[in-house]
């Protein structure tokens, strides 16, 4: 019976055009997942009771930490990429040490190192600032490589044309090189932003009351872990989809602009 429905479903969908195919298959997969979660026999009244606190406290903190990190990481990345491409030995060495170090350590360890390490040096740091420091430092290192590749993909002639007209370095970067490398930089950067949003959950280990922290703690008292984890998972997913949507908007904007 299930098998017949399944085959019929596939045959019917086969007749639709691409757009409807995509939408219907999406919805069906989603429904499948939801029935899977229903199977866990969740206590929905408990979820309803806690979800508002989770959103107001948890989502707010998660977004706050991620947004600041998302703003800071590209700035680090541009500076890092320029330094890595420069002919100045100091700049290159510092930038490549930075990318090597922060890409080489697990993010969780960086969070601990900053939160527990800085006080050893005499700088006592709160949990939230520690998290906000760790995330952009780590992702800035990954994005340095993305930006470097984007900048390098622009032909040498574009530099020469700009410089020969009297553009200084900064102007060349801003007006010629970055606008042309953005279409290449944006897709992987969008990926990084989504990853950053989810990796902001790592700062829960140092006690920041963000989404993950609440998901682990709210259900503790009554042993209703599953309810809270699934709720948090759904919230993370929704937030990521928002970022995906923004990314595809921006990509479309660039596609129409370059005819």
């Amino acid at each position: 019976m299930v098998a017949i429905l399944f085959v019929l479903n596939i045959v019917l969908i086969g007749f639709l055009n691409f757009r409807f195919q995509a939408i219907i298959v999406w919805l069906q997969l989603l429904a499948l997942f939801l029935t899977f979660f229903y199977g866990f026999d969740l206590d929905f009244s408990f979820i309803r009771k806690k979800v508002w606190f989770m959103v107001s406290q948890g989502v707010f903190t998660t977004l706050y930490v991620s947004a600041i990190s998302i703003a800071l990481a590209p700035m680090l990345a541009i500076v890092g990429a320029v330094a890595k491409l420069s002919s100045n030995g100091f700049a290159y060495a510092i930038a490549s040490f930075y990318t090597s170090f922060f890409r080489g350590l697990p993010l969780l360890m960086q969070v601990y190192l900053i939160y527990l390490g800085l006080p050893q040096l005499g700088y006592v740091i709160d949990a939230v600032p520690a998290g906000i420091l760790a995330l952009p430092l780590c992702y800035g290192a990954y994005m340095t490589e993305i930006f470097r590749a984007g900048i390098q993909s622009i032909p040498k002639g574009q530099w020469e044309a700009s410089r020969s007209m009297g553009f200084k370095f900064g102007l060349t970067m801003r007006r010629t090189i970055l606008p042309q490398s953005l279409p290449l930089i944006i897709p992987p950067t969008g990926n990084q932003f989504i990853a950053m949003l989810k990796d902001s959950s790592l700062v829960s280990v140092i006690g920041v009351w963000e989404l993950m922290f609440l998901a682990r703690t709210l259900g503790n008292k009554t042993f209703q872990h599953m309810e809270m984890l699934i709720t948090a998972a759904m919230i993370y997913w929704c937030l990521s989809m928002c970022l995906e949507l923004i990314q595809s908007r921006i990509e479309r904007h660039f596609r129409t602009k370059s005819h």
């Binding site: 032909p155 002639g157 574009q158 020469e160 044309a161 410089r163 020969s164 007209m165 009297g166 553009f167 200084k168 102007l171 007006r175 010629t176 606008p179 042309q180 602009k257 370059s258 005819h259």
Partner: protein, 248 residues
């Protein structure tokens, strides 16, 4: 400086790429209003010479003085020279993310600091000068090679340069587009622009040049007015070169 004073002077200029000596003791002067054509076999260092004149390639020995400014490590001086010297490239190097009109507007806007209201007018004036006003809203990728090169001329003209350097402006073009670009260059010459051109079309040299310079292996071998240069070359290497290219 007098009306016809020197605008470019090279004194004993030497340049190396690593161990390879690309320019040897170049001595060379361009006066205001001069039209110079540089020719020579491949590997002779013609583009290298042109590109050292606004320091896209740095030289190591000797003096290069452009419009009274000596080119050396100080970027401020280099940028001053670059504002006065327009360079046209073999591969056009238009900005693909900007329209034709925007390509022309960047130099007046960001380098010259011309008031924003006057810029479109300047840009259209030079587009008309290269006979290309209809397609100001297109992107470079939508144009043919010859059209792109003419836009590149106009972009350079918008800087209001005192000299224009041409780095093989026709060699990346399909044969049928060479003449439209050459015509534009002849037009510029007639308007009195100071020009220093590396170019393979000897017809252009005969028609327009005040002086022709022959280079080989990084040296200037011979420098003469076009009639004497083509009719009566002094050096054996010049003779060889001319007999080779005139066979085609």
């Amino acid at each position: 400086m007098s009306e016809n004073g020197p605008i470019i002077e090279m004194c004993n200029v030497n340049k190396w790429y690593g161990n390879y000596r690309a320019l040897r003791d170049i001595n060379f002067t361009v006066n205001k209003g001069d039209k110079i054509v540089v020719c020579g076999p491949s590997g002779s260092g013609k583009p290298t010479m042109i590109r050292t004149l606004n320091w896209l390639e740095a030289h190591q020995e000797g003096d290069i003085i452009v419009d009274g400014v000596r080119l050396h490590d100080k970027m401020k001086d280099v940028d001053k020279v670059r504002m006065e010297v327009g360079l046209v490239f073999q591969h056009f190097n238009l900005f693909p993310h900007l329209t034709v009109l925007q390509n022309l507007m960047v130099a007046p806007m960001w380098v010259r600091g011309v008031p924003a209201a006057e810029i479109p007018e300047i840009a259209m004036k030079f587009l008309e000068r290269v006979r290309f006003p209809e397609q100001a809203k297109k992107y470079p990728g939508q144009l043919s090679g010859g059209q792109q090169q003419r836009v590149a001329f106009a972009r350079t003209l918008c800087m209001n340069p005192k000299v224009m350097l041409f780095d093989e402006p026709t060699s990346a073009l399909d044969p049928e587009m060479v003449s439209e670009v050459l015509d534009t260059m002849v037009g510029l010459a007639e308007d009195g622009m100071t020009m220093d051109c590396v170019i393979h079309e000897m017809g252009f040299a005969k028609a327009v040049a005040d002086r022709v310079i022959f280079m080989d292996a990084g040296e200037i071998i011979e420098e003469n007015d076009p009639v004497s240069f083509f009719e009566n070359p002094q050096n054996e290497r010049t003779l060889n070169f001319l007999s080779q290219i005139l066979q085609h």
